[in-house]
């Protein structure tokens, strides 16, 4: 970290403690804010309550002091209990009548006065209480307390998402599909309402609060021991920087992922312990570059990044040579032009406003004008990217470019989620949706460290290799990616395996069989095996497994459950690996030692072990 290694360990320990304490203080101050509103409510209820007590006391006292008569006309005084009883039912407008004896006129006059007094007192008290319950500050305080309690009660690891826009929503659904818990902060109360209406499996705590306030982050679980990562996805770059800063200072050991669109801000974020930043325009440029070089690698990348349930995307074939036109020289245009030129392509940029920096191939003019498109030689071009920040402009640019040259490879940027059907109808070859790019990238980093590792190592393997992996995946699991999960072959997680793994003949091919019928393959593919720090990408069936390996698998949900059984139940593992049926219950194992030694033939004819 930032401290040189020469500094004593005690220093680091003290640092750590300091961070802990700072985080706790932040949380405490925020909780105090929440209770402040409750105190305010109690303070405001003082006057109505005192008025009510006073009115009751006067009415009751009056009733006990006024002389009355009993049934036979003898003088009689009402006791405190009778008086309180009468006032209680009179004040609450129930009115049981005159008990225990009919009232005298004196008493009736007093009761008449008391009725008006007490009704006014009740109305005042109840009215104040109701208006306080609708008070905005009070409701916010209640929501904050509710949220704080929910977050504090989380026991499983969770991700803290600051900013629940379109990106946050996509990421949330992917994480939820993986069964991961997360907590949401967003400044806009409407987005938090949307979160509550959304259909998540888990109960997702959400708070309408500004993520720039470290107190809110702390309440949302920044200092919670189960918090495993912080993701800053707000529209506001400054707010994202504030989240990165708060996380780096209060919980330096937490991984932080931030959305960023400008290089300058990326640099400022890097000053804080090196968070992982996701720049959608940069990523789109990289992806387009990868798509140019290796269409199959790109296809595999987008498929795995899209999260559980994604369909296999079509394999595009962008032209590798020729002339490209990029419309819009904003943040996307710059990144893209640089990436395309790095691939050795010729690029002409069309931009309505003259940019400050000089570029050889910059045509200044409105790309919607026919003259401008003629000037850039649309007919001899191979690729066209409509990358402005206005969806209407982009759509009309795509239409104009298609009319000028129907064989163009078209890329476009979609800014608003609402316009997705229009872009889909346009059948654009490469579509950039910044919110989706960010959500997919963050998902890949958070899903499991193994997936991130796989995606990082994959492009280097080349296109043919990626195509083969895709073929293997589609052959076994179909064109829908149902589940992506991690298995650790440790004695704790796979109690049925260690003996077999130690034999040195434990090949992957033997393990990946269907426990119902071992001739059938398990509908899952091992994408990566991690042993220590060494990763093997897409291992072959003859790969020899060892204790402690971590496997990343993609396949059917049913395959996942089947594999779990293989890893846990000795008898099933024995059948899958060797084809022998062995009894699984304790009594049958005691009774049939002969069956085990007699070899495979008898084992096969034995009754299938019940599980």
């Amino acid at each position: 970290m930032r401290t040189p290694p020469a500094v004593a360990v005690g220093q680091a320990g003290r640092d750590d403690r300091w961070h802990r304490r700072a985080a706790r203080r932040v949380a405490a101050s925020s909780a105090a804010q929440a209770s402040a509103a409750i105190f305010l409510v109690m303070r405001r209820m003082r006057a109505p309550l005192i008025v009510l007590i006073g009115i009751f006391a006067i009415s009751v006292l009056g009733l006990t002091l006024i002389p009355g008569q009993d049934g036979e006309g003898r003088p009689w005084r009402m006791g405190f209990f009778d008086a309180f009883y009468i006032m209680s039912y009179t004040a609450s407008t129930i009115g049981f009548g005159e008990i225990p004896h009919p009232f005298t006129y004196n008493q009736r006059m007093w009761v008449t006065i008391s009725i008006y007094l007490t009704v006014v007192g009740w109305a005042y008290a109840i009215g104040s209480l109701l208006s306080l319950l609708q008070d905005r500050a009070f409701r916010q305080a209640l929501a904050l307390q509710h949220f704080t309690r929910k977050v504090a009660r989380l026991r499983e690891p969770f991700v803290l998402i600051a900013g629940y826009g379109r990106t946050g929503e996509l990421l949330g659904h992917s994480l939820d599909a993986l069964g991961r818990q997360f907590v949401v902060l967003d400044r806009d109360p409407e987005r938090i309402d949307a979160l509550e209406l959304d259909s998540y499996h888990a109960d997702v705590p959400g708070l309408p609060a500004d993520a720039r306030d470290p107190g809110h982050l702390a309440v949302a679980g920044l200092d919670h021991p189960a918090c495993e990562a912080v993701v800053a996805l707000t529209n506001d770059e400054e707010a994202n920087l504030a989240v990165v800063m708060a996380a780096a200072l209060l919980r330096p050991e937490l991984p932080v992922i931030a959305r960023v669109t400008s290089r300058a801000l990326e640099e400022r974020m890097r000053a804080f312990g090196g968070p992982s930043t996701v720049n959608p325009f940069d990523r789109f440029g990289d992806h387009l570059g990868l798509a140019l070089r290796a269409p199959a690698s790109y296809q595999l990348l987008t498929w795995l990044e899209s999260g559980p349930g994604a369909e296999l995307p079509a394999r595009g074939s962008p032209p590798r040579t020729g002339h490209w036109i990029v419309c819009g020289y904003g943040r996307l245009g710059r990144e893209l032009t640089a990436d395309l030129r790095a691939e050795g392509l010729e690029v002409t940029v069309v931009e309505p406003r003259a940019a400050g920096d000089e570029d050889d191939d910059l045509v200044v003019g409105d790309p919607a004008e026919p003259d401008v498109l003629r000037q850039v030689d649309l007919v001899r071009s191979v690729g066209f990217v409509a990358g402005t920040d206005n969806d209407t402009t982009n759509l009309s640019l795509v239409a104009a470019a298609r009319r000028g040259n129907p064989s163009l490879f078209i890329g476009a940027r979609q800014n608003q989620a609402a316009n997705a059907p229009l872009f889909a109808a346009m059948e654009v070859d490469a579509l950039l949706v910044p919110s989706e790019v960010i959500a997919h990238e963050v998902y890949a980093q958070l899903a499991t460290p193994l997936l991130w590792r796989f995606l990082r190592e994959m492009p280097a393997r080349g296109d043919a290799w990626a195509a083969e992996v895709i073929d293997r995946l589609t052959a076994l699991c179909g064109e829908r990616l149902e589940a992506l999960w991690k298995v650790r072959l440790s004695p704790e997680d796979a109690p049925a395996l260690p003996g077999w793994l130690a034999s040195g003949r434990a090949t992957l091919g033997d393990l990946m069989r269907n426990p119902e019928d071992r001739e059938q393959p398990l509908h899952a593919v091992v994408l990566l095996v991690l042993r220590g720090h060494e990763a093997t990408v897409a291992p072959e069936p003859d790969f020899v497994l060892a204790v402690g390996d971590e496997l990343l698998l993609a396949g059917w949900g049913a395959a996942r459950r089947a594999l779990e059984i293989v890893l846990e139940v000795d008898a099933v593992r024995e059948y899958v690996v060797t084809g022998r049926r062995v009894p699984s219950s304790w009594i049958w194992r005691r009774l049939s030692p002969a069956g085990r030694t007699a070899g495979t033939t008898e084992g096969r004819t034995a009754e299938p072990a019940d599980r």
Binding site: F39, L40, R43, M45, L49, I50, I53, G54, G79, F80
Partner: protein
Amino acid sequence: MNLEKVVFGFFVLLAATLNFGFFIGDIDDPVLHNPYELFAAVVVNLIATVLKFGDRTQIGAVHLATSLVADLQLIGAALMYGYAVYVSSAGMTAGWTASVVSLSGGALLANLVSVVLLVVETVSFHRR
């Protein structure tokens, strides 16, 4: 002069004095313990409790706690009195009187703590 402090001090002190007035006298002699005084003590104690609502300081919290204790004991005393007069056939016997008065004695202790707190608060307040 702060009117809020005057009202606050008035009710806290009045709660204690009324309580004391009811408590003083032979513990089992019903003639010496006026039920109206008990009623007044209950009402004034309730008002004092509500006045202590919403104070966020530590001393305010202890104030509220002592008042709640006094309320609890005085309402208990009032309930016992009511039971003795209306439900039990024997009426206000020496035993019942002693129970009611001893409960109010407990409340008196809480009220005295309240008064001590009030005095401490006043003494530790520095006029600037």
